[in-house]
Every structure is written in C-alpha cells, then in structure tokens.
C-alpha cells in the first residue's frame, strides 16, 4: 500500500511538473470540438444533439496524447526500470500511474465541458451527474490506456500503435459515456441513465483489475 502511495505521489509530482503538456493537450481537445462543429455546420439543433458524442470523441483523441506523454518520462533514462530494480512493486507503479492518468483525464474532460456548452449550447442542470459520468468514462480510458501506453512506449511506431490498440477496446466505455452524457444534455425521458452508468462501472471494474494483473509482464524484460 505504501508503495502505491509512493507511486501516486511520484506520478502527481511528475504531472505537476509537466503541466504545460496537459494545457497543450487541452488546447488540442478544444480545437477538436471546434472542428467537429464545422463538420456539422451552424445548425444549433444538430450540434446540440451530437454534443455528447463530440465531447467524448475529443477526450478520446486527446487521451492518447496524454497517455503517451505519461510514459515518455518513464522511458527516458530508463526511470521506470530504475524503480523496478529497487525493487518497486509493479502493480503499485501501475495503479499509481493509472490513478494519476484518471485524474488528468477527468480534469481534461471537465475543462472541455464549458467549451462544449459554449460551442454547442449543450449544457445540463445535472452537473454532478455529468462529472460522475466523466470520471467513470475517464476511468474506462485510463485503465487499458495506461497499460497500452506502457507497452507502446517501448516500441518505435508508438504514436499509431496506441490508438490502434486502444480505440476498438474502449468501444463499450465510449458508447456508455456518450449515451449517458447525451441523456444528461437532451433529457432522459425513459430513465436509461442508470443502465448506461452500470455498463461503465462494469467496464471499469473489469479493466482496473485485469490490467493491474498483467502490467508486470508488460514492463519486465
């Protein structure tokens, strides 16, 4: 447990020190939201209807940048290997990094919401629920994303490989997050929010446990 705390402190410190990268990723996400609106055109009703989908697409695209960055610092000077040789528990290292990435993606998602509200006139009164969905969706991205970032950071074609591996995998999380967000924005007459939230919770539970199990095999040499 103490190793997890040490790992989490290390990752939060690293993220704080490289926060300018997070700002750059946020700008990337916001510009993606802008570009999506050009795909639809100035049709307010349509933009509002697809707002949930665009938010999560922008966050998904931005997340691959944030996840790749999170492991760049681990691979430079073999920092991660140095910790493993101390020895440090690989699972603690994984969960420390995954939680840090979760916080970062949640921050990113929350920061993109105002941009969405402005661009697509897609606000919601149920802000706490929206934040909850963002946390669950971000968790769905960060668990497998952290594992695949660790894997692809050690390979030459890492920028294409990470999205290639991650996107098909997170389809259930993406569907759940988009539907839940859209229900919050456009209204939920038939009360389906609970079902989609359960789907997100199931996806998170499976991958937060499974990825922790296999992480050691991915970083050992």
């Amino acid at each position: 447990m103490s190793q997890f705390v040490a790992a989490l402190r290390k990752d939060l410190l690293l993220q704080w020190r490289t926060r300018s990268q997070l700002v750059a990723v946020f700008v990337f996400g916001a510009s993606a939201l802008l570009l999506f609106s050009f795909a639809i055109g100035p049709n307010a009703a349509a933009l509002r209807e697809f707002a949930g989908g665009f938010l999560w697409l922008a966050l998904l695209l931005a997340s691959t940048l944030a996840l790749a960055d999170s492991f760049e610092s681990e691979m430079a000077q073999h920092a991660l290997e140095g910790l493993l040789l101390l020895p440090a528990d690989p699972r603690a290292l994984y969960y420390g990094k995954a939680v840090a990435n979760l916080l970062q993606l949640t921050l990113l998602g929350a920061a993109l919401v105002p941009v969405m509200v402005v661009l697509y006139d897609a606000g919601t009164a149920r802000v706490p629920a929206l934040l909850g969905i963002i946390v669950l969706g971000a968790a769905g991205l960060s668990a497998p994303g952290t594992l695949y970032a660790a894997m692809t950071a050690q390979v030459r074609a890492r920028n294409t490989l990470l999205p290639l591996l991650l996107f098909p995998l997170v389809v259930p999380a993406l569907l759940g997050a988009v539907k839940a967000t859209s229900l919050l924005i456009l209204g939920d007459p038939m009360g389906q929010l609970g079902a989609w939230t359960m789907l997100l919770v199931a996806f998170d539970a499976i991958y937060w446990s499974l990825c922790g199990l296999v992480f050691e095999r991915v970083v050992e040499d």
Binding site: M151, V155, L161, L164, L165, P168, F203, V214, R217
Partner: protein, 232 residues
C-alpha cells in the same frame, strides 16, 4: 512443430465440404418464404461467423497458455489464430454488408453480432500490427498474449453495449431464421470452414515457428545445451 501432411488433407477436406454445402445451398435448398434468394447468403455467412468466433476463442486459449506456461509452440499458434481470426472476421463483415444491402437497403446493418465482429476485426488487426513492430521475440509473445486476453474479455461488453445502443434504432434482425429444411447446407459448410481453418492455422503456426527460429540465433554452444539437457 509437427511435420505431417495432415493439415493439407484437412484443408482439402474443408474445401470439399464447402463446395458441397454451397452447391446444395445455392441450387437445391428451397427458396425462403420472405427473403427469397438473398437468404442463401446465410449458408456461408453463418458458418463463417461461427468459425471466426471459434478461432478467436482459440487465440484466447493460446494466449493464456503462452502467458502462464510459455513455450514457442503456443506463441506460433497464437499468431496463426490471430491472423486467421482477422481474415474470417473481415469476411464476415463483407458478407454481412452484402446481405444487408438488399434486406435493409443500406450497406451496413448495426446488428449487434455483426458490429461486434467489426470491433473484433479492428481489435485483433491492431494486435497483428503490434506483433509487426516488436522485434524481441519474447516481448512480442508476451505483449500480444496480453493484448489478446484484454481484447477477448471485451467481447461480451461490446456485444451488450451495441445491442442496447442499437435497440432504439430498429428491431433486432434475426437473419438465420433457419427452419429444418435449410440447416443441412449450413451445417456442412460450418464443418467445411472448420476443417479448412484447422489445416490453415496449423500450417500458419509452423510458418511462425520457422520464422522465429530463423530470426533467433542458433542454439547455444554444445556444452551449455548438454549441461541444461537441451532446454525447450
């Protein structure tokens, strides 16, 4: 790896069964009451779909054994099963698309099974790409096994999420409302694809094994090999 010619025999038998089942389905089976001729696509679409899922399940099994027990044989079979799985999934999507056109008027029908197959096609295609970019054979084996386990565990989640997501758009199409008279060609073709698949996966596994042997250094100096009783 094995030396016998049985994979060629198996593949040949599979092709023969496929020829037989297909001609039966195309020429002799009665026309389906509602869907007419288009229903005959089922005789090749359903067997391919069954076998695609089967070979990906085999890949999952190979991945587990490769992770837990190791051994180059299983990594070779894993590579073969992934590649065959990608080819079959791709074929299933093409067949599904051709079937959807006359039936629903669109090229893609968001049927949960078909959509799940499409997601699997991209997931396992990505794992094939991963295997191309990793040079160290041991890392390639471990990482692709991990990726296969993670992608396979996702299948039920993808299926249910697509079914919920799709249930609002249109009633779920049930393509193979297969009555008794129709299922013989279907069953024959299913075994046809299965035998072909078994033969091809075995050959492709031998190919992967040969490539890895060529890629790795010759066995260690004799003294070490003797001392260790020829590990592997």
């Amino acid at each position: 790896m094995g030396k016998g010619v049985w994979p060629f025999v198996m593949a040949g038998l599979g092709l023969a069964l496929l020829a037989w089942g297909s001609t039966w389905g195309l020429a002799f089976a009665p026309r389906e009451a509602y869907m007419g001729e288009v229903q005959r696509i089922m005789y090749v679409h359903v067997p391919t779909a069954w076998n695609a899922m089967l070979v990906l399940t085999f890949a999952f099994a190979c991945a587990l054994v490769s992770l837990l027990r190791g051994g180059w044989r299983w990594d070779a079979r894993l590579e073969a099963a992934i590649e065959a799985g990608v080819v079959l999934s791709g074929l299933v999507c093409i067949q599904g698309s051709i079937w959807a056109r006359p039936t629903w008027g669109v090229w893609w029908d968001w049927d949960p099974r078909l959509t799940t197959t499409a997601v699997l096609l991209f997931a396992f295609g990505g794992i094939l790409a991963l295997r191309q970019f990793v040079d160290d054979p041991v890392k390639r084996a471990v990482w692709s096994s991990v990726a296969v386990v993670i992608a396979y565990v996702d299948v039920p989640l993808v299926y249910f999420s697509v079914r919920w997501w799709n249930s609002l758009h249109q009633l779920q199409s049930t393509p193979e409302t297969v009555s008794r008279a129709f299922h013989w060609p279907l069953r024959i073709n299913a075994f046809g694809v299965l035998f072909l698949l078994i033969g091809l996966v075995e050959l492709r596994a031998r190919l992967a094994f040969l490539r890895r042997e060529a890629e790795s250094a010759p066995p260690p100096p004799v003294r070490v090999a003797e001392a260790l009783g020829g590990v592997r």
